[in-house]
């Protein structure tokens, strides 16, 4: 009696297709890492802050939301019209057949209605496209503005922040976490709104036609909900098992490669391979389950939909034959079933994604809320043009944690041009002294002066400009060797760069590289040894010609002779400059104008080599132990 349910599968496929394609895209995007879904602490508050962060681009969101509503309205109108269209066509075909004639579609015999039908879908399509296009740039723009805020924040965070955290933690907030947010903004938020509207609208339309069939459908709908929930919960727990397996394997691999010399030297290849195999096996096991669950969720829920369809189809067919259902209703009903089923499949997943994204956004906001360094004084003191380099600590008090004072009462004076050596065991506070001097950390009491000016009254930039510093861990950035040497003085000429490199005894090495000074260095360039990296950072400090030098165990990876040469170059550079040297080589200590012996954060002895030997204290003990 009906050709009408020819439409039955159409809506289904249309919806499935787009959705499934999106899911595929998401899976592809997440291929590298499965994340656990977390729950945000304050979902509404975070959502509001995101809204605030979107200032200036909110119109996009409004346009997209309006388009989404338009899309829903026209998508819901189309089935009602198609019922009319098909009734019309089938009626005319039957009429022609009864007259024994053929039927041809022309504008007059139904073509006009087909075109109108096309127009309805086309309007829905336009709304859909507008929404998709607007959202595809909205999310990334929002992310960009948040990333810009992070970049600015990174320069204002105190060293305290960095010293307490792994770099990876901060990096992932700026990358992974924000990617999660944009992912959801693009595919999640509006889809969720559309899904809810679609579902509600379709069920209302269905109920208007037939309550019995609607209740069958609602039953299956609830079943799908339950199934989705079960699968989602299961996916979640297996995802975290998988995450644990990934973590285990990652650390095994990192460890094995870093320690491979030891593994080979002690003949532990097979033991190590067995450990690795166990970790890889666990990952294979968990990812088999995790991947199947993630990918099978769609087909499983769609299967329920198909059963519902078959049952409703048979019931409706019976009603149709019995004349209790009109042809048009039969057709329209099926279309709404499909319109409603499709968003259902995705809703639960989308909610999980949304929660994960809000939790990620919360982490980003927590980073942006971190306490910043105190701003520079509004009216900073000014240093004279030629800084002499007299540095004094006056009763300085400091602790990394408020409750645990480390430095109780430190006083020292470095006269201009003096060489100050700092000695002491690891953790004795040598680096702390430098941290305070450079104002990487702020002191809790007392004061530090440079040429008599309290360093807190200076801008940090002005203060630090007076220092040249070579750190223990030789930091190079991705760029050419010349750029790395000229880091502190970007305007330096090539000749000046080469001169600094020569002074730091690294010129010869640079010439052995294929592109010389234009050789690109990458972050973990293994072609450059630790010693050579340090020589490069020494050249960098030399180029800047600062008033005060800080050498923080900088030469510990350079052999003695090279160090000796560097020290000679440094001595020339240090002439007339104050310098602080942290080193555990006696050669650097012995001729110092002032030796500071540190222990547990405090200076326990200070004086020249002779004075300290005569005092026969900690320094004398340390010094004499080498001859035992």
């Amino acid at each position: 009696m009906s050709s009408e349910n020819e439409r039955v599968q159409v809506g289904d496929a249309r919806g499935d297709e787009r959705r499934a394609a999106q899911v595929a895209a998401q899976t592809a995007a997440q291929a590298a890492a499965t994340e656990e879904v977390e729950v945000p602490a304050d979902a509404l508050g975070t959502a509001w802050r995101l809204w605030e962060a979107a200032a200036g681009m909110r119109w996009r969101l409004v346009v997209a939301a309006l388009s989404a509503v338009g899309f829903v309205v026209f998508s819901l109108a189309a089935p009602a019209y198609s019922a009319y269209l098909l009734d019309l066509l089938w009626g005319r075909i039957q009429a022609m057949f009864e007259r024994g004639e053929g039927f041809v579609v022309t504008m007059e015999t139904g073509g006009r209605e087909i075109v109108i039908y096309l127009v309805i879908w086309t309007i829905a399509w336009v709304f859909y496209t507008v929404q998709a296009m607007v959202m595809s740039s909205f999310a990334e723009r929002l992310n960009l503005s948040l990333r810009n805020r992070i970049a600015a924040k990174l320069e204002r965070l105190p060293l305290r922040y960095y010293d307490a955290r792994q770099p990876g933690d901060t990096i992932s907030r700026a990358t992974n976490d924000l990617d999660k947010v944009s992912e959801v903004l693009q595919r999640g938020v509006l889809q969720l709104i559309i899904a809810v509207l679609m579902l509600t609208g379709a069920v209302i339309m269905m109920a208007r036609y037939n309550l019995l069939l609607t209740s069958v459908y609602v039953f299956f709908m609830l079943l799908s909900f339950a199934a989705t929930k079960v699968i989602a919960a299961r996916t979640l727990s297996i995802a975290s098992a998988r995450q644990a397996a990934v973590g285990k394997l990652t650390s095994s691999v990192e460890e094995a490669y870093s320690g491979r010399a030891v593994i080979k030297a002690f003949g532990r290849e097979q033991a190590s391979a067995a450990e690795m195999r166990a970790a890889a096996e666990e990952l294979a096991r968990t990812s088999t389950i995790a991947d199947s669950l993630t990918n099978a969720a769609g087909p499983a829920i769609r299967f329920l939909g198909r059963i519902a369809l078959v049952i409703i189809g048979m019931m409706a067919g019976g009603m149709l034959v019995a004349g209790r259902l009109t042809v048009g209703v039969f057709q329209a009903f099926f279309q709404y079933v499909n319109t409603a089923s499709e968003p259902l499949t995705q809703m639960s997943m989308t909610i999980n994604m949304l929660q994960g994204a809000l939790a990620a956004a919360e982490r980003v906001f927590r980073l942006l809320d971190e306490e910043e360094v105190e701003p520079d004084p509004a009216q900073p003191a000014e240093l004279p043009r030629n800084v002499e380099g007299r540095v004094a600590f006056e009763h300085v008090r400091f602790g990394y944690e408020a409750k645990k004072p480390l430095m109780r009462d430190v006083s020292l004076v470095a006269e201009p041009g003096q060489k100050v050596a700092i000695v002491g065991a690891t953790g004795a506070g040598k680096t702390t002294l430098i941290n305070l001097l450079m104002r990487f950390y702020e002191i809790d009491g007392g004061r530090i002066t440079l040429d008599g000016v309290d360093t807190r009254r200076l801008t940090r930039a002005d203060l630090r400009r007076q220092f040249g510093m070579v750190l223990q861990d030789a930091w190079l950035f991705e760029g050419t060797i010349a750029e790395n040497i000229a880091y502190g003085c970007p305007g330096a000429s090539r000749d000046e760069v080469v001169a600094a490199a020569k002074a730091a005894h690294v010129d010869f090495f640079v010439h052995t590289l294929p592109q010389g000074y234009d050789t690109m260095l990458s972050g973990d360039a293994e072609s450059i040894s630790q010693g050579q990296r340090q020589l490069l950072t020494i050249a960098r400090a030399m180029l800047c010609d600062p008033a005060i030098l800080i050498l923080d165990e900088a030469t510990s990876s350079v052999d003695t002779r090279t160090e000796q040469a560097i020290v000679r170059a440094m001595e020339a550079l240090m002439y007339g400059r104050t310098s602080f040297v942290i080193a555990h080589r006696l050669s650097t200590i012995v001729d110092a104008d002032l030796i500071l012996v540190m222990d547990h954060g405090n200076i326990v002895e200070q004086g020249t080599h002779e004075e300290l030997l005569a005092a026969d204290g900690a320094y004398a003990e340390l010094y004499n132990s080498q001859f035992s």
Binding site: A28, W121, I171, T175, E255, A261, G427, E526, T560
Partner: protein, 609 residues
């Protein structure tokens, strides 16, 4: 492909770029899949069930409509319903089975790829490994394998069904009506064209996006790890600017990718509308001429939709294929590299050793017989014409500048590198005639970087000797001046975090020394192992070692003259050549290089003391 490889390799200084072909990638893939042929076959069967079920449901539905429209219609309803139900169950069952099997297949392949890379690396010599570098090797073992695994699973689920689906669906359309058959064939070809264009256009943009993501990570890491330097040099503004630029680059490209996806999405939506209307219009015409029945329109629309659906999915899956091939290629470089150092087919066997008292004192343990070493990409010898012996009961020290090749000598003894000229004898046998395991079992080694493994202290120490008793371990700890272990609440059972980072540099070094002492060996090598120790501990340790190792040969590589002044034999290296051999006193007399080193360290002390 080439672009992809270039992008991924950009960061790897020193590694030959794109040194692999598509063939290498596919060969490795074939090798990895080979053990799972039956699993692959089962997956294909399940997929065919899936496809057949999926196409059978609309076919049956249209049959039901057609039957219902015939005068004696209603009785067949139940039969059609049951058939559809069975088809649904078969289809969905096939789909879920296929997904499970594909996930399993991919997970197994991923696991085997990780293990293939790791096991290949175990056979590598030092320079083999340095060709790739630790960072790159980690990437190849972990994320490359992961990309391959994910892409393989997606490929099986999303790409494999496409040709099957197209052929069956078009065939079914022709069986209904030739005109509709041609229509569907045209639609299929149009979709193929759209897919090919999309993949072609988007693949390079995707690759670029990946490069921008890498850049963001690199810049962020730099900014964070270098925060002290950035601030010391007052370059905060520049650092921020650099970051912002990489962020903008990424955002621009990401927006382009998103727009492209939205365009493809929207295009497909439009295409579907068009095809639906076309099928209704042409279908109604064909029904009007009795060429087909009205119910078949349902089936035709569904076939068309399914074809588009699968192409769209395949399109997304295709995007990650170039990347996966590049990953396979990178892994094949590792797997296919023939290790520089290998074991002989018929290895020589070393005589009894180990227990010192059995061998006579001052017997030669190892001998460098005019040994030279040149790395494969170098123009000059790294070590040239070394000629000296290591004897039981004697301490030999090696001193020289950074880059003079000191550590390489230790690595040659362990056969991390092989000689390129001359011979290196161990126990009178050329080391190349021994198995690596046999050789290394006779040597105990303290590396320059005191690396410890996660686990307990005892587990780490037992790397030296798996069956060592606790007393033995404590003895080694005490000899290594590891008194701090006694103060730990859990003693030898104390946890060690990866790399030993929960211990100070000096503590790590002493634990690494203890680990080496646990092993009874003919030769002990200390590669710059005292550098993180203060002078006092250094002296005490040397004293303790003297008694402990009096029956073995000892090789100390050091920078401090004070550490080695008492050695029986000191070898002075300068730019890979031996410039002096003798005792401290002899060398002070005869060797200017040695004198210069000693002077540079002792000058100040002597003038003051």
């Amino acid at each position: 492909m080439a672009q992809e490889a270039a992008a991924t390799n950009r960061q790897e200084a020193g590694v030959e770029q794109e040194d692999y072909t598509l063939r290498d990638s596919l060969r490795l893939l074939a090798r990895l899949i080979k053990p799972y042929r039956r699993l692959a076959l089962a997956t294909a069967v399940a997929l065919i069930f899936d496809m057949t079920g999926m196409l059978y449901v609309p076919t049956e539905l249209s049959a039901m409509i057609n039957a219902a429209l015939s005068p004696n219609g209603s009785t067949d309803l139940l039969v059609h319903g049951v058939r559809m139900l069975v088809a649904s169950i078969c289809g969905s069952g096939g789909a879920i089975t296929a997904i499970y099997l594909a996930s399993k297949l991919a997970a197994n392949v991923g696991r085997d790829m990780r293990m293939a890379v790791y096991e290949a690396s175990l056979a590598y010599s030092g320079s083999d490994f340095e060709r790739f570098g630790t960072g790159s090797m980690i990437t190849r073992t972990l994320s490359d394998a992961n990309v391959v695994q994910q892409t393989l699973a997606m490929g099986i689920i999303m790409i494999l069904p496409v040709p099957v689906m197209s052929v069956i669906a078009v065939g079914l359309a022709f069986s209904i009506d030739a005109v509709m058959g041609w229509l569907l064939l045209t639609v299929t070809l149009a979709v193929v064209a759209v897919s090919v264009v999309t993949v072609k256009v988007s693949a390079p943009i995707f690759t670029r996006l990946q490069a921008f993501i890498d850049r963001m990570n690199v810049r962020l890491r730099e900014t964070i790890t270098g925060v002290r330097v950035v601030r010391a040099f007052g370059r905060e503004e520049v650092a921020k600017h650099e970051l912002d630029r990489t962020f903008s680059d990424y955002a621009d490209n990401a927006i382009r990718v998103n727009l492209m996806f939205s365009t493809a999405d929207s295009l497909t939506f439009f295409l579907m509308n068009g095809v639906e209307v076309l099928v209704i219009w042409l279908g109604a015409d064909r029904v009007g001429t009795h060429a087909m029945q009205i119910g078949s329109i349902t089936a035709l629309i569904e076939y068309a939709m399914l074809i588009m659906f699968f192409y769209m999915m395949a399109q997304f899956a295709m995007l990650s294929v170039p990347r996966a091939l590049a990953c396979l290629g990178r892994a094949s470089q590792v797997v296919d590299l023939a290790p520089e150092v290998g074991d002989p087919a018929t290895p020589a066997v070393l005589g009894e050793g180990g227990a010192g008292e059995r061998a006579s004192a001052h017997a030669e343990v190892a001998r460098f017989d005019h040994v030279s070493l040149r790395f494969h990409d170098a123009d000059e010898d790294t070590l040239h014409d070394l000629d000296f012996s290591l004897r039981r009961g004697e301490t030999c020290a090696i001193i020289g500048n950074t880059g003079s090749g000191k550590s390489t000598i230790a690595k040659m003894l362990l056969r991390f590198h092989d000689v390129t000229a001359g011979r290196l004898l161990f126990g009178g046998v050329d080391v190349r005639e021994l198995t690596q395991a046999d050789l290394r079992a006779r040597i105990s080694y303290v590396p320059q970087k005191a690396w410890l493994f996660s686990g307990t202290i005892a587990e780490n120490l037992r790397h030296g000797d798996a069956y060592a008793t606790d007393e033995h371990l404590w003895h080694a700890v005490d000899t290594a001046q590891g008194a701090f272990v006694h103060e730990l609440p859990e003693g030898l059972a104390t946890r060690v975090s990866q790399g030993g980072t929960n211990f100070s540099g000096g503590q790590r070094q002493r634990l690494a020394i203890a680990r080496a002492l646990v092993r009874r060996a003919d030769l002990y090598i200390f590669d710059d192992s005292f550098s993180a120790l203060d002078f006092k501990t250094d002296a005490a340790l040397r004293h303790a070692l003297k008694d402990e190792l009096k029956d073995a040969a000892v090789l100390i590589i050091a920078q401090r003259v004070s550490t080695i002044a008492h050695a029986d034999q000191i070898v002075v290296l300068n730019e890979g050549e031996v410039v002096g051999v003798g005792t401290h006193e002899q060398l002070m007399e005869e060797c200017p290089t040695y004198r210069a080193i000693a002077d540079s360290q002792a000058r100040k002390e002597e003038s003051h003391v």
